[in-house]
């Protein structure tokens, strides 16, 4: 038992063909273990959040009751991507665990939706949003070190409040970028191996080794997404995160949540659209 299944090509070469499918269960179990572990830690061991006062103090009365967080376009992207991701996971992995149905057509259609939504997001985030807001900055790294030391009982100053996105969100986003782009790019080329109305089938677009690596990367990123999405859904329904989750539905978060968790210097609040 390994990670990659190999086969002989017609020319006698050993080429990878795909991952071993037991990794589906490894990823699913890893996701569940994480959420159970986190739930126990959060319930019994986590200390209350403590933040250093920021340099900019804002009067609550100067803020709108609802602080704008996600634009309509950003929310639509998120939910379209979520729907396509779920469709992709269901069509990819249910047949592998015994639920048999004609999945290929639904899989590549969902893949097209995902690719289109990613392209939209790249343009939208690059030109119409604060591109760097979702990427970790120096303050995040410094605060993460302090939070870790404090969690271990070591002396360290309290961290500052977050910018628009907590570091955990930023790290999750980075992981989704990595896995999402991996499945999207490899999936796009894999569509040349099946019949679609979009391209002429061409299984010789790449050599056997390149194709094999592509299938392996698609599989690894795909099973990785099982754990990542499990964790994402878990955090979305945690009570302390519900304000953030609701903001992805309604676009705004409460003034109280903003003042409690976010640094007005690092994220300037604006009124709802």
């Amino acid at each position: 038992m390994g990670i990659v299944e190999w086969a002989k090509s017609p020319w006698g070469q050993d080429v990878p063909i795909h991952i071993f499918w037991y990794l589906i269960w490894v990823s699913a179990i890893a996701g569940l273990v994480f959420l159970v572990g986190h739930a126990i830690w959060a319930r019994y061991f986590a200390k209350p959040e403590e933040f250093a006062p920021g340099p900019v103090q804002v009067q609550a009365s100067s803020l709108p009751e609802r602080v704008a967080r996600h634009s309509l376009a950003a929310r639509m992207f998120h939910w379209v991507m979520a729907a396509s991701m779920f469709a992709l996971l269901i069509t990819a992995f249910l047949p592998k665990v015994g639920v048999k149905f004609a999945w290929v057509q639904w899989h590549w259609i969902a893949g097209i939706v995902l690719i289109a939504s990613i392209l939209f997001h790249i343009v939208h985030a690059s030109f119409f949003m604060d591109f760097w807001a979702i990427w970790p900055d120096r303050q995040d790294i410094k605060d993460a070190g302090n939070r870790l030391l404090r969690a271990l009982g070591k002396p360290a100053p309290p961290p500052r409040r977050f910018a628009k996105y907590p570091l955990e969100n930023k790290m999750y986003h980075a992981a989704i970028v990595l896995t999402g782009l991996s499945v999207a790019i490899t999936g796009f080329f894999m569509m040349f191996r099946v019949r679609t109305p979009l391209f002429t089938r061409n299984p010789y677009l790449f050599g056997d080794m390149t194709w094999g690596m592509m299938y392996v990367l698609h599989g690894l990123a795909g099973v990785g997404l099982i754990a990542l999405i499990t964790i994402h859904v878990y955090f979305a329904v945690r009570p302390e995160k519900l304000d953030i989750t609701k903001s992805m539905i309604f676009g705004t978060m409460s003034r109280e949540h903003y003042l409690e968790h976010h640094d007005p210097e690092r994220w300037v609040a604006g009124p709802a659209e």
Binding site: Q105, R193, R195
Partner: protein
């Protein structure tokens, strides 16, 4: 790759005497077990050393799986009944001659003496890339060697291809679908009965299987209801040579006419997709119509809608179209003479 050595790799052989014993073995060994019926499909795989099961369960000693029995005006055929026994059975010949024609068109007399009806409907694809041991989609890989610009694919699918373009090679399968047969499947948990048309699956559903049978399952019998007994049947098989060959395309239909009017009809075609294709739209379109050249032309055109021929099998499109026309309109001479 396929190296014909004529010496099978070692395996543990079981020859149970009852279905219960066979089911117990299948339950115990699961996907490691290989069910051996007549052996016409199995021995190719085993001698070529492409399939290497650890346990082979030979059904030949189970008497209850053999024979044709009357059942509610129809018949129940044990899965281990040989094709010759099916062809010679008087009830089948009298009431369900379509199946007799289909079974008799399979392979050669010697093979029909050994081959079983259960094996005929459950046999694996005959795509030579797959049978040659290449790690194609059907073998768990990630490519179809028969669906490439340079592949030799004269015998392959024109309909319903989903990555794999292999076809179902059974001659009795379309006849059973046309007769609305029921497949009796047992496993250690019990029995289920599946319509013949649902027994066969395409690569979209499971690319490594031709039927709904899962590890632990055993096809024990095929029941043909009285519904189509004595109807007007049509069977025709087109092959490269008139003996011992798989179908390029075959067709089976059962119909009831009032005068020239089509009262009800079932048509199934094989050799064009990974599973026998029941032509439901065609059946609906011709029901109630006059059985004439115009109806037959319309049916033929409708049958091949959506066909996507490969490089070398474009001939199957007019072949299938004409077979459907002949099944509707009929031909002057008998479709098949034994």
């Amino acid at each position: 790759m396929a190296i014909i050595r004529d010496i099978m790799p070692a395996f543990e052989l079981f020859q149970p005497a009852t279905t219960e014993d066979a089911l117990g073995l299948l339950d115990r060994y699961g996907s490691q077990a290989w069910v051996l019926a007549g052996g016409l499909d199995s021995f190719d795989w085993l001698k070529d050393r492409i399939k290497r099961p650890s346990f082979v369960i030979d059904l030949s000693q189970i008497k209850e799986l053999r024979g044709v029995r009357p059942l509610d005006g129809g018949v129940e055929i044990g899965a281990m009944t040989t094709l010759t026994e099916v062809v010679r059975d008087p009830t089948i010949r009298e009431k369900f001659g379509l199946l007799a024609e289909g079974a008799e068109s399979a392979a050669s007399p010697q093979i029909r003496n050994q081959g079983t009806i259960g094996g005929n409907v459950s046999q694996d694809a005959r795509c030579w890339y797959y049978r040659g041991g290449w790690k194609c989609y059907r073998a768990g890989g990630n490519i179809c060697f028969a669906d490439t610009p340079t592949a030799i694919n004269r015998e392959h699918a024109i309909l319903g291809a989903d990555r794999c373009v292999a076809v179902n090679p059974s001659d009795s399968a379309p006849a059973l679908i046309a007769l609305d047969a029921k497949m009796v499947i047992r496993n250690s948990k019990g029995e289920r009965v599946v319509d013949a048309e649902d027994y066969f699956i395409g690569p979209g559903t499971d690319i490594t299987r031709m039927t709904v049978l899962q590890p632990g399952d055993l096809l024990t019998a095929i029941r043909i209801p009285a519904t189509w007994a004595g109807a007007h049947f049509y069977f025709e098989k087109i092959r490269d040579r008139q003996v011992w060959d798989f179908p390029l395309v075959n067709i089976a239909s059962a119909a009831v006419f009032t005068g020239d009017r089509v009262d009800r009809i079932r048509i199934a075609v094989n050799g064009v997709a990974a599973h026998p294709v029941r032509l439901k739209e065609v059946e609906a379109a011709v029901t109630g119509k006059t059985r004439d050249a115009a109806t037959a032309d319309m049916a033929g055109q409708m049958a091949v809608q959506g066909a996507q021929p490969l490089r070398y099998n474009g001939y199957k499109v007019p072949l299938m179209r004409n077979l459907v026309k002949r099944a509707i309109r009929g031909v002057e001479e008998p479709a098949w003479a034994s």
